[in-house]
Amino acid sequence: MKIAVAMSGGVDSSVVAGLMARAGHEVIGITLQLYDHGAATARKGACCAGQDIYDAKRVADRLGIAHYVVDSEARFKKSVMSAFADSYAAGETPVPCIACNQHLKFGDLLEMARDFGAEAMATGHYVRRIDGPNGAEMHQAVDENRDQSWFLFATTRAQLDFCRFPLGGYASKAEVRAVALEMGLAVAEKADSQDICFVPSGSYAGIVEKFRPDALESGEVVAEDGRVLGAHQGIARYTIGQAKRLPDAAAHMVVKKIEPGTRRIVVGPRGTQSKIVTLRDVNWLVEPREIRATAKLRARDTLHPAAITPNGTGATLTLDEPALAAPGQAAVFYDGTRILGGGFII
């Protein structure tokens, strides 16, 4: 069949393109240009495309498949980068990869693939799609260390139906690299990508400063009773539960609350966590209903048993044991390896 492959230029999606071609499909490789590489690295004369696009093209050449670069800069800037800064300015801790998956990869790109006549879209995500009695189900990857299901909770059922995730069944990244090597792909030894692709230096403050300088204005660090304990250099530098970057007077305390309106960081002693977590923009991969499941409240989190009650487009999570929940992060519901849905923590 005609299958679109989202190719980032990394080893994972390159192997996916190779696997699809090997299976006899007509493969259409697409690389989204998410930002102007030349501008991002501020090098004079640098091309708008980075090494990753070049790598993706060379992999496509090697595999003998079609490859196109699609300009997604405007969309990425609005739906991911700017939203990332806005979220920090609202006192949240955003997950830009979820927004990118939701709006660009499984949003715009998937629509485009349908429009140009593809019958499915494959990506290099580590997650499994299993055909169940009621349609496609999303399951965690076999390799728990690589599992990306938490980042993909916002994929709708219709989108999931159209998608293929050939790497979900691989036992390890080493196995995937071995396949790349065997296919003769130059990216076989390429390093894994870093946390946030548009923050190559690892310091996200620069992005926040560009879009929302107000989130880096100084303010007060206060105790829960309102006592001023010191100053901070911008609410965007803090997340719920954080102990770092607090004034001496707040030593051994953690951030309990971030108030964007007053630019106050409220701190308190560790340990007093909540059992009730409210979610917005919940995506259900099963029929929405009151369920018992386990929930992950951060990308790398243990599973928290909870009761989940749908509430309009949101939901309420009642945890068996209190846990730390940072607004802007996702709460994703699991039944064993299966993803039942998820939403953003308010």
């Binding site: 005609k2 007509e26 259409i28 240009q33 091309c47 708008c48 495309a49 696009i53 093209k57 079609a66 490859h67 196109y68 670069v69 699609v70 300009d71 629509e111 485009m112 349908r114 429009d115 140009f116 006549g117």
Partner: protein, 338 residues
């Protein structure tokens, strides 16, 4: 083909020089110029750069809004807006020449994305009357809509071999008699000191050989119109179709469908179309030509269909079939979301 360098004085060099000068005479004859007024370059980008550099020195540079990037990137150039059909209003040019006396005006004879023709006869007359110089980018018009631009009063014209069937890597700047050109690259003083660097002889010979091939403009225009009518009936908008145009070009915007999507869909059916302008990454930018014509978002939803000289009824049918399938998919989506 001789292996010599046309600048060498040995026999192999002389043979090479003979080929080069014969090519120069062919180009000169074709463009109503003297051989001495033909400067071979690596292509039209370089020819345009040379014209802007040599003729634009000390003069205000006025360019049409729909020019090729090799003209648009001229530093300090003043852009003349075009009308919605892609043509330049006479009064726009007249007013600009009054406001900027002694200017160099750069206009394309035919637009590369829409095929729209500028009225070069009027521009040449007006420029001559105002003491301005006029450079014509004739890349698209050569072989399809030839005119004696120099005879009309233009100062120079540029052309590119691979646009009319020659190999890539050769072009020319052809100047009116008596115009002096200061080189951009001095090098070894080739091309009478006006363009240094060894000439790409094989490409230049190919350029000359490709000139003057027969071109059935009427037949090609009929096929083009057939495609255009078919697509318009399916909801496309043909930009520039009301203006005088080249016979082989149509620019079709399909509202709501990105140019990339259309390009991929057609490419999958073996049809090569282009859109906007591609960066070296292959990323497409929205068409600056359609933007200048006031098409807004549609500038990112348009493809340019260029018919080759040997287009056949079968090729036209292959295109219309693929286009119809693409529109059908788009409509299904629209119904789905409605």
């Amino acid at each position: 083909m001789a292996a010599g360098n046309p600048s060498s004085i040995h026999a192999a060099g002389r043979d090479a020089r003979k080929i080069l000068e014969s090519a120069r005479e062919t180009v000169a004859g074709y463009c109503h110029a003297r051989p001495a007024d033909v400067i071979f370059t690596s292509g039209a980008t370089e020819a345009n750069a040379l014209a802007l550099h040599a003729l634009g020195k000390g003069r205000p540079i006025l360019i049409g809004a729909t020019e090729h990037d090799s003209i648009r990137t001229a530093p300090g150039a003043i852009t003349l807006p075009v009308r919605p059909d892609g043509t330049l209003a006479p009064e726009t040019l007249e007013a600009a020449l009054v406001a900027h006396p002694g200017a160099l005006v750069a206009l394309m004879a035919a637009n590369n994305e829409t095929g729209v023709l500028h009225d070069i006869e009027f521009a040449a007359k007006t420029c001559t009357a105002q003491g301005a110089l006029l450079h014509i980018d004739a890349v698209q018009a050569i072989g399809r809509n030839n005119r004696d631009w120099l005879g009309m009063g233009a100062t120079s014209i540029s052309l590119s071999g691979h646009k009319f069937g020659g190999p890539m890597g050769a072009g020319a700047l052809i100047i009116r008699q008596g115009i002096e050109i200061e080189a951009l690259t001095k090098g070894g003083g080739q091309e009478q000191g006006r363009r240094g660097g060894t000439q790409a002889l094989p490409a230049i010979a190919g350029l000359a050989a490709a000139l003057g091939e027969p071109y059935e403009a009427g037949k090609i225009a009929t096929f083009r119109d057939e495609i255009e009518t078919f697509c318009i009936n399916l909801g496309a908008i043909a930009a520039g179709s009301t203006a005088p145009r080249l016979p082989n070009t149509t620019n079709l915007a399909l509202p709501g469908i990105r140019a990339e999507t259309q390009l991929i869909a057609l490419d999958m059916e073996g049809i090569a179309v282009s859109a906007g302008s591609a960066c070296s990454s292959g990323k497409l930018a929205a068409s600056h030509v359609l933007t200048a014509m006031g098409y807004g978002d549609l500038a990112g939803q348009a493809i340019r269909v260029s018919l080759p000289w040997n287009v056949t009824a079968e090729a036209v049918e292959k295109f219309t079939t693929a286009y119809a399938a693409m529109v059908k998919r788009a409509l299904r989506k629209a119904e789905h979301s409605a």
